[in-house]
Every structure is written in structure tokens, then in C-alpha cells.
């Protein structure tokens, strides 16, 4: 009995030692540390309390300066300049300045297809939700090898032509700051906003 007792005693001590050591090993690295000590924003709020109400850095931007830079065009038409575009005139400009990269009919490449063809590739006609984006993008970025070189008139004409080529407007329909935002693009109804939220669901 005493023999067994000794064995149990030894095993018991060993177990206690093991548990103790284990516990010591397992001290959470974050224990004794303020929560979130590794975050980029630690202490930021306290620091911000020491800031002045205003820094007043930089130069005031006046209206005429802003007008020169403010080039974006929105779906509601905000940002569109005055003007009127026609597909007929657009065809001429397109042939000169765009066809080499986008093809005579807008789908032969070598660069992005602009007009829907039998392959079903994404184009203005089958994928773009807003017609105003054509004006915004072409004025901003095209032609690829001479961005920013088109006049607003040229951009209006090309916008009309690309809409006509995609079968969205008739050839004689005039594109203006009023009519362009009213054009309903075929793909618009397909668009939804991001529905991913984190968590276990795959979307």
C-alpha cells in the first residue's frame, strides 16, 4: 500500500510540475499588454487631443482653378459641357483617331471591343451601365497614345457615334448635356451593389 502511495505521490508531483510548467509556457504573449498595442492607431486619439483646431495648411483653391481641373462627368449630367454631338461627325473622327486600335467597326481590335459582336465580350452596348461614362472616359484617357487631345466637341461626336454603333440611339439623335444622361443603357438593370459582408457566407 505504502509502495503504491509513493508511486502515486511521485506521479502527482510530476503532474503538478507538468501543469505548472505548461501554464508558464502558455502565458499568452498579449497578457500584460494593453489591448491592441500592435495597431497602427494606438494612442492616436490621445495624440489628436493635442492638435490645434485648424492647421490652415495649403493654398485656397478658387473657382476658376477648380473649373479647369474638375473634369468628371456624372450619370446625372453634372460636369457635361455645353455642346451637341452627332454620330455622323463622330464616324469621321473615329476613323481617324480610334479605328487603328479598336477596329473599323469597333470590335476588330486589337484593343478593347467597344461595340457588341457575336463573341459576347463586354462592350459599351452590353456591359456599360451609364452613357455618361463614355464621355468621361474618352475625354480623360483616349486616344491611348494622345490622352487629353480631344476637344469637347470631338468627344460629344464620338460619344454619339459609339452609342449609335451599339444600336442604342438612332444615327440622327443628337447628344447633348440634357439628352446624354437620359439614355437608358441596356446593362444598367443588371447592376447590384457589393453584397459581400465578411462572415462565413461565400458570395
Amino acid at each position: 500500500m505504502t509502495k503504491h502511495g509513493a508511486v502515486y505521490f511521485v506521479i502527482g508531483i510530476a503532474l503538478i510540475l507538468l501543469i505548472c510548467c505548461d501554464a508558464a509556457d502558455k502565458v499568452e504573449p498579449s497578457a500584460g499588454r494593453r489591448q491592441g498595442e500592435t495597431d497602427w492607431s494606438d494612442g492616436l486619439v490621445t495624440y489628436q487631443e493635442t492638435w490645434p483646431d485648424k492647421f490652415g495648411i495649403g493654398r485656397h483653391a478658387d473657382k476658376s482653378f477648380i473649373a479647369k481641373w474638375d473634369i468628371d462627368v456624372r450619370p446625372d449630367g453634372k460636369g457635361l459641357p455645353d455642346g451637341e454631338g452627332s454620330a455622323k461627325n463622330g464616324a469621321v473622327i473615329y476613323r481617324q483617331k480610334c479605328a487603328s486600335c479598336h477596329g473599323a467597326n469597333g470590335y476588330e481590335g486589337p484593343e478593347d471591343k467597344l461595340v457588341t459582336d457575336s463573341t459576347g465580350s463586354n462592350t459599351i452596348g452590353n456591359y456599360w451601365p451609364y452613357a455618361t461614362t463614355i464621355f468621361d472616359y474618352v475625354r480623360r484617357s483616349m486616344p491611348f497614345n494622345a490622352p487629353g487631345s480631344l476637344t469637347d466637341q470631338e468627344v460629344y461626336d464620338i460619344t454619339a457615334y459609339l452609342l449609335y454603333l451599339n444600336g442604342i440611339i438612332k444615327e440622327e439623335y443628337k447628344i447633348t448635356a440634357t439628352t446624354l444622361p437620359q439614355i437608358e443603357m441596356p446593362a444598367k438593370k443588371r447592376y447590384i451593389s457589393d453584397d459581400r459582408r465578411g462572415g462565413p457566407e461565400v458570395r
Partner: protein, 418 residues
């Protein structure tokens, strides 16, 4: 006569012995030379020699203004097009991407901008529109933050001979330094109807994206520093937007204008591009946050491994916060075990994971799967295809793995079979 014969015999014996000795010597010498030429052992010379290269016996190069890489270990970006290059994830140590190996994506090349001639205009729904030079930006209180930037079109597959960088090297990590956008906007006074902002670059594409103000404002940085130095031209010198966790395209480089607005502009990059086809024929837009992802960077093609213990290594990241866990399987997904994460685990940052593995020499497949703090589990390719009814597109972040062959050679696993 017999004595003469004896004598001759002895000489012959002696010659034979000599010949044998010389032959042995020659063989030994040849063997030694072959050994020294074929083995990679460092030769420790014990004599002065101009032939043996021993760095401890010669003067090295002088110091210089700018350092350089060892010519024996000089990773390169993987160039895929004139307008994009990838980070060689498999060649990196730790989690910071050297600035000159940060992935590139641009739509009209890399502009060369003199900061003296560059201004950032902030206007729109603010009380006080302003123009800021780089020197002005640097006067604001600064912040630094380590985070990844990933392009949302960051998944390629289709052949077995692909490296981690080729599969998803459009992600890189830096310590970005700049000023919080909220710090500047606080000074300008944001009007209550403000809901979005448009950010625009000064490159040939005038790259422009709309971003919801509320989501961006807490963390967005107008950065001018990257890994301790000025941002590189490829990354937006002199200033860029950094929105931790958002898709790379929104983090406009060569930033020249921010317009605070009530509605998105619907630029080409948020309609024609950076939108993805999802189920029921829908197209999803403004999918801005990068979901959790991981990849094993060792062992990976083109490396070859040997039987026995190895540290399996990789990176995991999530645009929604911290990586909570990385699970690793070394038996083609039958069992999954938790990998060790290298601390500190940062929010929206590449996080290194490691797993000690004793390869028994049998062919197998190794896989990794990231789980972030929201409980999101990195999906398989088939799960993504099922959820979206679409086989590709932006924000494709499937589990990828590597097939280990009997020879120890490693190849990209067929993603459709995972």
C-alpha cells in the same frame, strides 16, 4: 647467373611496386581534385593565394550612397505586360515587399512628376477647397501603417508550371507614411450631404475612382512615404491614396485631385472594369474590400524538396481585418491543421504562417486556407463558381495548393480539383 636473375627479378618487383604507388597517388590526386570541384564545400586555404577566393583574405568594396543586392540573390519582378508586373512572392523573406519589387499596374505608363510642379486639389462638398503641395502634406501630423495593397484581378492559373508570384503576385506589402485624409478634411469642413469622394491621378489615364466617404475616411491615407523613403514613381510618386483593405485600383497613384461628392461618378474603372458577373445574370459593382486569402510560398514551383522535415511557409491576408487562423493540409484536404502565425498579426496586412512538416516522400498535395476575424473562410474555386455562377472575374480568391511528386518536384495543383 642465378644471382643476376634474382637481382633482375627484384628490380622488376621494385618497379612494379613503384608503378602501383604512383598509380595510387595519381588516382588519389585526381579523386581529390574532382571532389573539390564537385562538392560545394568552402575551401579554407592555408596559404596565401591569389587564385582561391576567400573573402576573409581580401579587402572588400568601399561603402556607397545607395546599397545593392547580392548578385547571387537578386529577385526580379515578374513582368507580364507593359502595364503590369508581379511581386515574386516566393523570393521574399518576411512580410515587407521591397519597394522595387512592389507589383505594378498602370493604365498609361509611369509618369515622371516633379513635386514642385505637382498639386493636390481637394474640393467639392467642403467649406474650404484647397491646393496642397508635397511640402504642405508633410506639415500635417503623419501616420505610418503596414498594410497590403492587392489588385482585385489577382488570380491566374491554367498550367502546372506556375510560381506563387505568377498565380497571385499582384499583392505587396509596405509601410506607408503620410497624412490621414480625415486630418485634412477636418480642416476643410465636410458638408453634411457628402457621401462619396472621387480620387483622380495625374497619369495619362487620369485614373479616377469613386469611394464611399464613410468607409474610406477612417483609414485612408494620402501617402508620400513607402518603406522609409519617398514613394517610388511606379507606386505613385509624389503622393498616392492608400485605403487599407480596399482593392488596389481605388488607391489612386500620382494623386492630383479629390472631389467630395454626394454620388459616385461611375467612371469606366468602376463600371466597365472592376465589376464582376455574379449569379442570376447580375453584375456586382463597388466590391471594394479584399476578402481573405492565403498562399503557400514554400514548397512551391519551381522548388524541389527532399524527404524529411521542412518548414512550410506562406502568407495570408484579409482586407476586413486580422487573419485569425490559417489551416494547412498536407494530405490533399483530408485533414487540416492550424499553422503558426508570425506575430504581431496586423490588420489588413500580409501575415506570415509556418507549419512544420515531415514529408514521407510519398506524392501528396499541400493546401492552405485563411480564416479572418469576421469568420470568413477562404473558399475553394468550386465554392466561388457555385456562389457566383461565374468562373472568373475580379475578387477571385480561391484556395490554391501544390502537388508534391515522388521526386520532390512541386507543381501548382489543379484548382478545379480542390
Amino acid at each position: 647467373m642465378s644471382e643476376g636473375k634474382e637481382y633482375l627479378k627484384e628490380i622488376r618487383l621494385l618497379v612494379r611496386w613503384l608503378a602501383v604507388t604512383v598509380a595510387i597517388f595519381l588516382a588519389l590526386a585526381v579523386g581529390l581534385v574532382i571532389y573539390q570541384h564537385t562538392s560545394n564545400h568552402v575551401v579554407e586555404p592555408d596559404f596565401d593565394s591569389k587564385i582561391t577566393v576567400d573573402p576573409s583574405k581580401v579587402q572588400g568594396k568601399p561603402s556607397s550612397e545607395v546599397g545593392y543586392r547580392s548578385k547571387f540573390d537578386s529577385p526580379k519582378r515578374i513582368a507580364t505586360y507593359a502595364t503590369a508586373s508581379r511581386t515574386p512572392l516566393e523570393d521574399l523573406q518576411g512580410t515587407i515587399t521591397p519597394s522595387d519589387l512592389h507589383f505594378e499596374r498602370h493604365h498609361a505608363g509611369i509618369p515622371e512628376i516633379n513635386p514642385e510642379q505637382h498639386e493636390l486639389l481637394i474640393h467639392g462638398l467642403v467649406e474650404k477647397p484647397i491646393r496642397l503641395k508635397l511640402s504642405d502634406l508633410k506639415k500635417y501630423p503623419s501616420v505610418s501603417r503596414i498594410c497590403f495593397i492587392e489588385c482585385s484581378g489577382n488570380f491566374r492559373y491554367g498550367k502546372r508550371e506556375m510560381t506563387p508570384g505568377e498565380v497571385c503576385g499582384l499583392t505587396s506589402q509596405s509601410e506607408w507614411t503620410g497624412v490621414l485624409l480625415s486630418t485634412i478634411l477636418r480642416d476643410l469642413g465636410v458638408k453634411p450631404e457628402a457621401k462619396w469622394l472621387l480620387a483622380e491621378g495625374a497619369d495619362g489615364a487620369l485614373m479616377a475612382r469613386s469611394v464611399p466617404l464613410q468607409e474610406a475616411l477612417t483609414e485612408a491615407i494620402i501617402a508620400y512615404g513607402q518603406n522609409g523613403e519617398a514613394i517610388r514613381p511606379q507606386q505613385g510618386y509624389p503622393m498616392r491614396l492608400v485605403i487599407p483593405g480596399f482593392e488596389g485600383n481605388t488607391q489612386i497613384k500620382w494623386l492630383r485631385r479629390i472631389e467630395v461628392t454626394d454620388k459616385p461618378v461611375m467612371t469606366r474603372e468602376e463600371t466597365s472594369k472592376y465589376t464582376e458577373k455574379v449569379k442570376d445574370g447580375k453584375i456586382r459593382m463597388f466590391s471594394l474590400v479584399m476578402d481573405a486569402r492565403s498562399i503557400i510560398t514554400y514548397p512551391a514551383y519551381p522548388k524541389k524538396i527532399e524527404k524529411g522535415w521542412q518548414e512550410l511557409r506562406g502568407i495570408a491576408w484579409s482586407g476586413r481585418g486580422k487573419v485569425a487562423k490559417v489551416l494547412v493540409s498536407t494530405d490533399n484536404g483530408k485533414t487540416w491543421k492550424e499553422a503558426h502565425l508570425q506575430g504581431p498579426v496586423l490588420e489588413k496586412a500580409h501575415t506570415a504562417f509556418k507549419f512544420m512538416w515531415n514529408w514521407d516522400g510519398k506524392p501528396t498535395r499541400v493546401l492552405s486556407k485563411a480564416i479572418d476575424e469576421t469568420g470568413y473562410v477562404q473558399p475553394t474555386y468550386n465554392q466561388l463558381v457555385r456562389a457566383r455562377e461565374s468562373k472568373a472575374g475580379y475578387h477571385f480568391n480561391p484556395v490554391v495548393g501544390w502537388d508534391i511528386e515522388k521526386t520532390g518536384e512541386v507543381y501548382l495543383a489543379d484548382v478545379e480539383g480542390i
